[in-house]
């Protein structure tokens, strides 16, 4: 044990008494002598705190700036204008879907660049157009057969390399061998640009397409639908169950060991790593109950278990804030306990419960780790049409795209993150709005 007087030397300046002549020096002088040093320490400490806050804010700004700067360009996409001649001899009336749409694209390109000869060069020329162009033509013909025999000017998506070049993400000055686009291709692209056949337009595909291996055809609609189905299941299960548990624990539960156990459980579940819920889902819902893999239903069940503690805790706080006088008044005029709770306490606590639920939903929307466990990482092209069909969700789509090697997927990943963050912001804003509008201070 240190002697009490000596352990706090730098804080309490009294100790210096010994070193000076005791009779001539007053205590106040000793204190004053050290005062400047102490004030400097005070300032230093304050600046340290401010620096901590500023650096946290700096991280936040860096995060958003880096994602926004990488992602904004994905909202436009390079398109190439081709004059397509839908010649009659290509189409077989009985089998419109089977026509050689690729051939149409190739022919049209050929007519733009008649000087291109040789297999190698032709392949490089065709490589400028996305493989999605033929599907686009197919769709056009299937929806309107009258265009067969005519020539139409069609904007088709360019290949992702062309798109990246147009957005300045491929360095023209790099040596040819290190570039995805060769010199001849650059020449053609500049030619197309000179003819105003190459333009950046709003990237509709990104919002209407499912997943794809081709960045220029990849969209977030499938993942968004999957997220929606999953969240619907989560909301339908977790809100009623969470509110019911909160009401029971706050209003009806006796104080005994069982209830303590439940409370400890809820508090602990709120802090269990989310991936463990994924293991639970895999072992119980998939292996034991045999529910289908990758289904939004299972995802919703897992996320329900994960968000329940959040909703229960928020709802309990909200019920606690309803003053006892309300309950006493209701009981006093002859309402039963149940009537008191459902007719008087719950309506007053509802805004708080809804706020907690929205926050829980926002967390569920951003969650991906447990969903990896139950197979919601599949490569799914078509948007899911129901609760049992294979689906993926927005955050998992982000994870999948972040793993893709193509340069163009980086900007699409960032754009998907921007969309996800936008959803989250709307939800949180709704929660803040609810709270400020309906919360009552008693």
């Amino acid at each position: 044990m240190p002697i009490p007087g000596h352990s706090r030397k730098d804080a309490l300046p009294m100790q210096d008494v010994e070193s000076s002549a005791p009779s001539s020096v007053r205590t106040i002088d000793i204190i004053n002598r050290k005062l400047n040093k102490r004030y400097r320490a005070e300032k230093r400490f304050k600046r340290l705190g401010l620096a901590a806050i500023l650096s946290s804010l700096l991280f936040l700004a860096l995060l958003f700036i880096s994602i926004a700067s990488q992602g904004y360009s994905a909202f436009v996409q390079t398109y190439i204008l081709l004059d397509i001649h839908f010649s009659r001899d290509v189409f077989d009336v009985g089998n419109l879907a089977g026509a050689d749409y690729n051939g149409l694209v190739r022919k049209s390109l050929q007519s733009l660049f008649p000087e291109v000869r040789g297999r190698q060069e032709k392949r490089m020329l065709n490589g400028l157009i996305s493989s999605g162009a033929s599907f686009q033509l197919q769709k056009m013909v299937m929806s309107d057969t009258s265009i067969i025999g005519s020539t139409r000017s069609v904007w088709v998506p360019a290949d992702d390399d062309v798109d990246m070049l147009m957005k300045g993400r491929i360095d023209r000055s790099a040596p040819e061998a290190e570039r995805r686009l060769k010199d001849v291709q650059l020449g053609w692209i500049d030619g197309l640009r000179g003819d105003h056949r190459l333009q950046k337009k709003f990237n509709m595909i990104f919002f209407t397409g499912g997943d794809s291996r081709e960045p220029e055809l990849a969209g977030i609609l499938g993942a968004t639908m999957g997220s929606m189905y999953t969240l619907i299941v989560t909301l339908l299960l977790s809100f009623p169950v969470g509110v019911a548990s909160a009401i029971y624990l706050e209003e009806f539960a006796p104080r005994n060991k069982w209830i303590d156990l439940i409370e400890v459980n809820i508090n602990n579940l709120a802090a269990v790593p989310s991936i463990v819920f994924g293991l639970l889902g895999l072992a119980v819902f998939l292996n034991f109950f045999g529910l289908p893999r990758s289904a939004p239903l299972v995802g919703g069940l897992v996320l329900t278990l994960m968000t329940l503690p959040t909703i229960i805790i928020a709802s309990r706080v909200s019920i606690q804030s309803v003053p006892p006088s309300i309950r006493e008044a209701a009981l006093g005029v002859g309402a039963s306990k149940m009537q008191t709770v459902f007719h008087h306490v719950m309506p007053l606590a509802l805004p708080g419960m809804l706020t907690g639920t929205i926050i829980g939903m926002a967390r569920a929307l951003g969650e991906s780790a447990p969903l990896l466990m139950i197979g919601m990482v599949a490569f799914i092209v078509d948007p899911p049409g129901g609760f049992l069909e294979p689906a993926t969700v927005l955050p998992v789509q982000i994870y999948l795209w972040a793993d893709s090697p193509e340069r163009a997927f980086v900007e699409r990943t960032s754009a998907a993150i921007i969309v996800l963050l936008a959803f989250l912001m709307v939800m949180n804003a709704a929660a803040v709005f609810l709270r400020s509008k309906f919360e009552r201070r008693w």
Binding site: G49, F59, A244, I275, L280, A283, G290, S336, M373, T413
Partner: protein, 461 residues
Amino acid sequence: MHFPLLLIVIFVFSQAAYWLGYRRAFSAAGEKGSVHLHSRPQYYGVLTFLWCVIPPLFILGAWSVFSEPVLTGLALKTMPEYTGRLSPDEISLLKSDLRNIVSGRFIPPGADAALLEAADHYKDMRGIGRQGLAALALASMLAGTIIVLLRIRPGMRARNHVEKMISIALITCSTIAIFTTVGIILSVLFESVLFFRQVPITEFLFGLKWSPQMAIRADQVAASGSFGAVPVFAGTVMISAIAMLVAAPLGLMSAIYLSDYADRKFRTAVKPLLEILAGVPTVVYGFFAALTVAPVLRQFGESLGLSVSSESALAAGLVMGIMIIPFVMSISDDVINAVPQSLRDGSYALGATKSETIKMVIVPAALPGIVGGMLLAVSRAIGETMIVVMAAGLSANLTANPLQAVTTVTVQIVTLLVGDQEFDSPKTLAAFALGLLLFAVTLVLNIMALYIVRKYREQYE
């Protein structure tokens, strides 16, 4: 009858049942209410409604849970010459083939006549079962409604009955938390026991080599994977330590500044901003770590002449630390605000400056709470998944160098379980063993932290 149609019928009829019960209460009360009803007439309606809905829904629920395993078992019994000499794995394969044929998804290439026959048998029985189910559900619905209607008397305590049923529902809902915990424990424990039967627990806990890749052929080199999890633990500890080195000082200092120095305006402006950091999905942090922070660190390291792995522990730990800052901050803030004002006033009265008060009085007084909060933060760092999956490596290096790639428990769980799984290989089961460990460690940390924080709060209340 089909499931959705059945549900619609039940729904429509339940509305009718409510109305019938409601009317019946009035007629039981007699003309102009000559006899007093015990409860308000709505309660008689609700009671009829509940007894109309609950029995058929219960039956349908039981069917959808139990029909498949029962029917599969019955169908497989039709081919005894098969199932008699098959191992459990082959039977489970057979079952999934059967399920695929029945659902019409596809017919597995190896399917033979006996299996197809069993599938037909399955479909037949399912057809019969479904008809019986519909009949049973509708009958129970009618029976429930009629019984309640017949028993409605003026003296019947309908409200008490309804309230009893509601309170049973409430109790059931609140026990889900217990069932979830039990479910987690059982599911990880069960698979882990299977794992420890194949790999000794001492090897798992103390082995120094982790390479769970199982050989496809038995005669391959390194035919069995090795499951020494120490490198995985070490990686987890290192990344969490880096994260805490970032989050603990920044979070604590931010909380101190906000609670003791900042004016109201600054506080209301900055606090929500910092809480945004907590709301950002972890997958976004993972992307940020892998595509922005890691390359920057790598370039910076190269300019100093250091070789930094592109999946360095530093990048993952740094970003994870950023993620945890608001968590540490809000807990520290709570804890610091719980220190009674009288302690501060006493310190100021002795002539201490603000920073001296904080360092000598407030932080020591709040220490248990702060420690508890840090434990919760550590538990969160250990369990964090997406950042490390995206930014940390897969290779289990046993190293103390934060510039190298390390792997963590959560990364291994994800890589072992994503993709095709067989539930008998140690590779898959190892993920559950890691999960058990993760759950146990975070459980201990959480309970300890919650206990400390609660004790601390009580001390000043």
